[in-house]
């Protein structure tokens, strides 16, 4: 254990950094996708709702590992070889980010939809009755209330997404699991290595969970602060 830590510790820490980076990129775009698709799913417009429904169910119905292979290998192949347009290469980080963003975005969309639907329709009606347009009402009245109820689920989704980055080891991104595999293949100390890796995930996730609890408590106590 000590040998692994002293020799490969810095490497594993760097890999953890890569994991966090990938998760952060993915989450950033997932938030954007989730917001857009989530709002689309509560609009009156049928085309928007159907698009959102298809997107969410499609992504949720495909295992992430398949999505990862599809984006990393499938799409460049299709673009370059089948369509013969050429020139498309995705780095593992790019493909990984897209994959996480799509996957997590679909779940975020569901969280956001549920959050908006949990706000009493009377809030929107009151805003509209004062002459506020739909989007102003959404922005000023409905979304601020929806977001408050969504935050625990969103943080939970962040944690899941952080764990999901490990799946992206299959496309060769040097995140924690991938790096650990290399360490094991060099040292053959799989028990120690995986124990360390597990511990590293655990620490980060525990920190996130504590943060979630803190935010939740603050939301309960002072709804004013948000």
């Amino acid at each position: 254990m000590g040998k692994i830590l002293s020799v490969y510790g810095p490497l594993l820490l760097t890999a953890m950094g890569q994991t966090l980076l990938l998760a952060l990129y993915g989450l950033f775009f997932a938030c954007i996708i989730g917001m857009i698709v989530g709002i689309m799913s509560v609009l009156k417009n049928r085309a928007c709702r159907i698009f959102a429904l298809i997107f969410v169910n499609l992504i949720r119905g495909v295992p992430m590992i398949v999505l990862a292979y599809f984006i990393y290998f499938g799409i460049p192949y299709f673009w370059n070889t089948v369509l013969q347009i050429g020139g498309l290469t995705l780095s593992a980080l790019q493909a990984g980010t897209i994959c996480l963003a799509l996957n997590c975005g679909a779940y975020m969309a569901e969280i956001i939809r549920a959050g908006i639907e949990a706000v009493d329709v009377g809030q929107m009606e009151a805003a509209r009755s004062l002459g506020l347009p739909y989007w102003r009402s959404m922005h000023r009245v409905v979304l601020p209330q929806a977001i408050r109820t969504m935050i625990p689920s969103i943080i939970n989704q962040f944690i899941i997404t952080l764990k999901d980055t490990s799946i992206l080891s299959v496309i060769g991104f040097p995140e924690l699991v991938n790096t650990a595999k290399n360490v094991v293949s060099k040292t053959f100390m799989s028990f120690q290595t995986w124990a360390i890796v597990a511990f590293m995930y655990l620490v980060v996730i525990l920190i996130l969970q504590q943060a979630a609890k803190l935010i939740e408590r603050r939301l309960k106590r002072g709804r004013r602060s948000l």
Partner: protein, 249 residues
């Protein structure tokens, strides 16, 4: 000639119909409301009172018919409904105060956001309206810190901050504890005395009797009887109305 005839028609509803799928909720209703008039709508649950009221500011899209507000056909496609709604305040059964804002911001939101008033002007108007409903001390309170009666008075003040020409009330006291009904009705009474044009859906027969210029009895999506309160309550003609009054009085 009768002086009443010169009064402006504020709301004119012609052959209004509203269906939910196959369900006919409003069946060919026509009615006019004059400037400064207080019209109370009474009737059994599910008869379409709320739906009718919500059609007046198009919170509910009508199926057919025409609605004029201040002489403007608001059911035409070219009309900007948001502009129309500025003229029509609405008070809901469940208050619908914005839970994410304190009282003052509830009152200031629409005037400031729609750039009808500067922040300072909106604040002054808001404070004046709060005073009018007797809640000057609650400007910084959040909705969940108010009693039902206080919430409803804030809701009225919020609507008044838009300086509407018409106020719609949908059972404003039905969700209140009995001891709080009076304070809300008092505010409405004063509003009526100030000459506000009001359409009030209510189960408060005493209020209707006392304040209304005209009472409409709605049943099954139609106004079956209308008249001044003395006649409606003292000498009802329609058997359905007689039946209804027997139950509620």
């Amino acid at each position: 000639m009768d002086g009443e005839a010169y009064k402006k028609v504020k709301i004119s509803v012609q052959h209004l119909k509203k269906n939910y799928g196959p369900l006919e909720v409003i069946r060919d209703v026509s009615v006019d409301v004059l400037e400064g008039e207080v019209v109370c709508i009474i009737g059994p649950s599910g008869s379409g009172k709320s739906t009718f009221l919500r059609c007046l500011n198009q919170l509910e899209e009508r199926t057919s018919g025409t609605i004029w507000i201040n002489g403007q056909n608001i059911t035409s496609h070219t009309v900007n409904i948001n502009m129309v709604r500025r003229e029509i305040g609405m008070v809901f059964q469940h208050f619908n105060l914005f839970n994410n804002m304190n009282v003052l911001r509830n009152l200031m939101l629409a005037p400031v956001d729609l750039k009808i008033a500067t922040k300072d002007d909106a604040r002054q108007t808001a404070l004046r309206m709060l005073e009018r409903v007797g809640l000057s001390d609650k400007a910084d309170a959040y909705p969940d810190q108010l009693s039902g009666g206080q919430k409803q008075r804030v809701a009225i003040a919020r609507a008044l901050c838009m300086k509407p020409q018409i106020m719609l009330f949908d059972e404003p006291t039905s969700a209140l504890d009995p001891e709080m009904v009076g304070e809300v009705l008092q505010v409405m009474r004063e509003l009526a005395a100030d000459g506000m044009t009001m359409v009030v859906v209510t189960h408060e027969m005493r209020f209707a009797h006392e304040v209304a210029d005209r009472v409409l009895f709605m049943d099954d999506g139609q106004f079956l009887e209308e008249g001044d309160p003395e006649t409606i309550f003292g000498n009802p003609q329609n058997p359905r109305l007689q039946d209804f009054l027997k139950k509620v009085l």
